[in-house]
């Protein structure tokens, strides 16, 4: 595959990833709306969970594809970033668990863990890029 072809397919994939992010956002908003408006209906709540999860999976698949299209060097950067995010999230979960058991905090939302993971993933990508590309 030539450099131009690679750039073109990379751009198409980036557009697709953006689309999946929008899909994820929309399904998340729809599911959240159902949870708040129809909290009494078991079927609707179960349906909302399915919608949200199905809306999330395309983003994951597109992100994997986006990483795989790059050369081995960029894939290495992503591997290190994912390892960093995994370690940071693990440390966060363990620390909050200890704080909770020690009585310093009540509980944390699972959403918080999710945002910590996303945030540390982004920061780890920037850090790995800075290290290798400086």
């Amino acid at each position: 595959m030539s450099h131009n072809q690679k750039s073109g397919s990379g751009l198409r994939l980036l557009v697709r990833v953006s689309g999946t992010v929008i899909l994820w956002g929309v399904t998340y908003a729809v599911a959240s709306s159902i949870f708040s408006r129809h909290s009494a209906s078991l079927k609707l709540r179960a349906g909302a969970v399915i919608i949200a999860v199905l809306g999330f999976i395309p983003w994951q698949l597109a992100t994997v594809k986006l990483i795989r299209i790059h050369d081995e060097f960029t894939r290495r950067i992503h591997l290190i970033a994912l390892a960093g995010a995994f370690a940071a999230t693990g440390l966060f979960i363990f620390t909050t668990d200890m704080l909770q058991r020690a009585g310093f905090i009540d509980y944390i939302l699972l959403r918080t863990i999710w945002f910590v993971m996303l945030g540390t993933w982004g920061l780890a990508i920037l850090a790995a890029e800075w290290y290798y590309r400086r």
């Binding site: 790059h70 050369d71 060097f73």
Partner: protein
């Protein structure tokens, strides 16, 4: 691992961008290899060797610390 990428490139008057096009990786990858921050995998090392018409061993050399 040390390598003679920069020297071989200079001999041919190739920029990092030109070498990156020839072996199909980003310019940053070539830069990271040249500065010793990144050791390429075997397929990329072989592509680089092919671009310079050399053997992998002629370009990449193990150091005692490796």
């Amino acid at each position: 691992m040390k390598n003679s990428l920069r020297v071989l490139r200079a001999e041919r008057n190739w920029s990092q961008a030109e070498l990156s096009m020839r072996v199909g990786v980003s310019r940053q990858a070539i830069n990271a290899i040249e500065t010793g921050r990144y050791d390429p995998g075997l397929p990329l090392a072989m592509k680089i060797a092919r671009a310079f018409e050399r053997k992998v061993d002629d370009i990449f050399e193990l150091e005692d610390s490796d």
